[in-house]
């Protein structure tokens, strides 16, 4: 007669094993949802169709690339909201795993979407180089080789984090699953209308920040050659407010990324169980305020 002995799991490894198992189960469910992938296809298509064309508004192609990510963000939020909405069922509290650990597992399971967003950002960077750059400005202040900065592309990854957090927060707090569809749709597609937040005073509060900012630098009668030679300019007939500088700032984009991380932490605080919620809300508030102040300081 033989006997098989099984080594008992150590106290330290058991929670990690449970978390890993939950992550695998939740990730399989989330990644099997067709909505984010269909939305990703729409996003890639929308991004791919943005090409510089003669006669366009100066900077239109540069501005059009980033908001194309909106459908994918909507898809991420929908996929992330489902497991968090499932956690509202009364069965969950009786489970032998703490709510915080289950929440953590769901969030970790959603991280593959953030990795996909990173891959999408790389694809955007490659596409812009393949096009030979995008156009900003008009003569005498014009470039045909504009590329989004690293900070602007990092925004796509930060937005994916916000999308996960938004889906988690709404999924956890909204009682009807079906009400999530219009809520997420309106939130993501309204913020994708980037010119709503185009004014310098509103730009720091935007979710999808689109540069360049147009800053009036002189009347229509001003000589554009009198402006610094490295300024990208737009004027008559494209504007009625005189000469404007089309201003692109990597520093502004980095501070905006900090603001987005703060918003993500605040939303995670809404989705997180009571223990640990205060820490997330504190971190989120600090990051959001720092991001806002930083953007206000950077904008001329």
């Amino acid at each position: 007669m033989s006997m098989t002995t099984v080594r008992p799991a150590t106290a330290a490894s058991a929670p990690a094993t449970v978390t890993r198992a939950l992550v695998v189960i939740e990730a399989r469910r989330m990644l099997g949802n067709p909505v984010p992938w269909a939305c990703l296809a729409l996003t890639i298509w929308a991004m791919w169709t943005v090409t510089p064309e003669p006669g366009e508004w100066p900077g239109a192609s540069y501005e059009g690339i980033i908001p194309a990510v909106a459908p994918f963000l909507f898809g991420i939020s929908v996929a992330a909201s489902l497991p968090f909405h499932r956690a509202r069922h009364d069965v969950a509290p009786a489970a032998p795993v703490s709510e915080a650990r289950r929440t953590l597992a769901r969030l970790l399971a959603a991280l593959p979407f953030v990795v996909v967003a990173l891959a999408y950002a790389v694809l955007v960077a490659w596409r812009e180089r393949d096009l030979g750059g995008l156009w900003i400005g008009m003569e005498p202040g014009r470039t045909t080789e504009a590329l989004h900065t690293t900070a602007e592309l990092a925004q796509l990854v930060a937005l994916a984090l916000v999308a996960v957090a938004l889906g988690a927060a709404l999924g956890r707090r909204m009682s009807r699953l079906v009400a999530l569809v219009p809520a997420l749709f309106v939130l993501w597609f309204v913020v994708s209308v980037y010119w709503l937040f185009g004014q310098a005073a509103l730009t720091p509060y935007s979710m999808i920040q689109v540069q360049p900012l147009n800053i009036t630098v002189g009347p229509s009668s001003a000589d554009p050659l009198s402006f610094p030679s490295d300024w990208l300019l737009v004027g008559n007939p494209h504007t009625s407010e005189g000469w404007q500088r089309q201003w692109v700032s990597e520093a502004l984009a980095w501070w905006h990324d900090v603001w987005l991380l703060g918003v993500a932490a605040l939303l995670l605080g809404v989705a997180w169980p009571r223990s640990g919620r205060r820490a997330l809300l504190t971190v989120g508030t600090v990051l959001a305020v720092a991001g806002l102040v930083g953007q206000h300081v950077v904008i001329p």
């Binding site: 939305c39 729409l42 298509w45 929308a46 169709t49 459908p71 909204m174 009682s175 009807r176 699953l177 079906v178 009400a179 569809v181 219009p182 809520a183 749709f185 309106v186 939130l187 597609f189 309204v190 209308v193 010119w195 709503l196 937040f197 185009g198 004014q199 509103l202």
Partner: protein
């Protein structure tokens, strides 16, 4: 029958979750005010509003007490119409408010009604388990496809809710009438 329906109006209105719809309307009003102050073309904002409001109205068809109410002497379709009316009237009022705040080319409630009718038709004919979710997703899908499909025949057909809303409304209403016993 009508008395029973009238008596059901208040409890049904209480059972509907109004908070998400009110928050959504608030976001749309804020976006429209921003569009007005920015002086930009507000057509896309109104199109988003039409799809969002239509999805909200269709999502109101979700009735957690549907199984329990199946025994009452009011047909399922009448209860659906009651829910649509309770949510549809405020949604139309919000639409007119948004429309009055902008000078957009898209005007009138046609797109809102067409998208709502399409969503209801899908909710009636879809498999019961996911009927309302699919119905509420229909306006969203139509908007997204119209926005992102390359211009051509398919894009034109998908965009009929915006360009030919009354014909779409008529066709979708016929589908709803055909599926009234489902």
């Amino acid at each position: 029958m009508n008395t029973a329906l009238a008596q059901a109006a208040v409890p049904t209105a209480r059972a509907i979750r109004w908070t998400p719809a009110v928050c959504l309307a608030g976001v749309l009003v804020a976006a429209t005010v921003l569009a007005r102050s920015a002086g930009g073309p507000a057509d896309v904002v109104l199109a988003i509003a039409a799809a969002g409001l239509a999805a909200t109205v269709v999502s109101g068809l979700h009735d957690p007490a549907a199984a329990m109410l199946s025994a009452v002497p009011v047909s399922v379709m009448q209860r659906r119409v009651l829910r649509l009316a309770l949510l549809g009237l405020p949604a139309t009022a919000v639409w007119f408010l948004l429309d009055s705040l902008t000078a957009a080319q898209v005007s009138g409630p046609g797109p809102l009604l067409a998208l709502t009718a399409c969503g209801v038709a899908v909710a009636l004919w879809a498999p019961p388990r996911r009927a309302v979710v699919m119905g509420a997703s229909t306006p969203v899908a139509l908007f997204a496809l119209h926005q992102f499909l390359p211009s051509g025949t398919v894009s034109d057909v998908v965009g009929w809710w915006l360009t030919e809303p009354w014909w779409v409304l008529a066709a979708a209403t016929l589908l709803c009438v055909a599926g009234r016993r489902r």
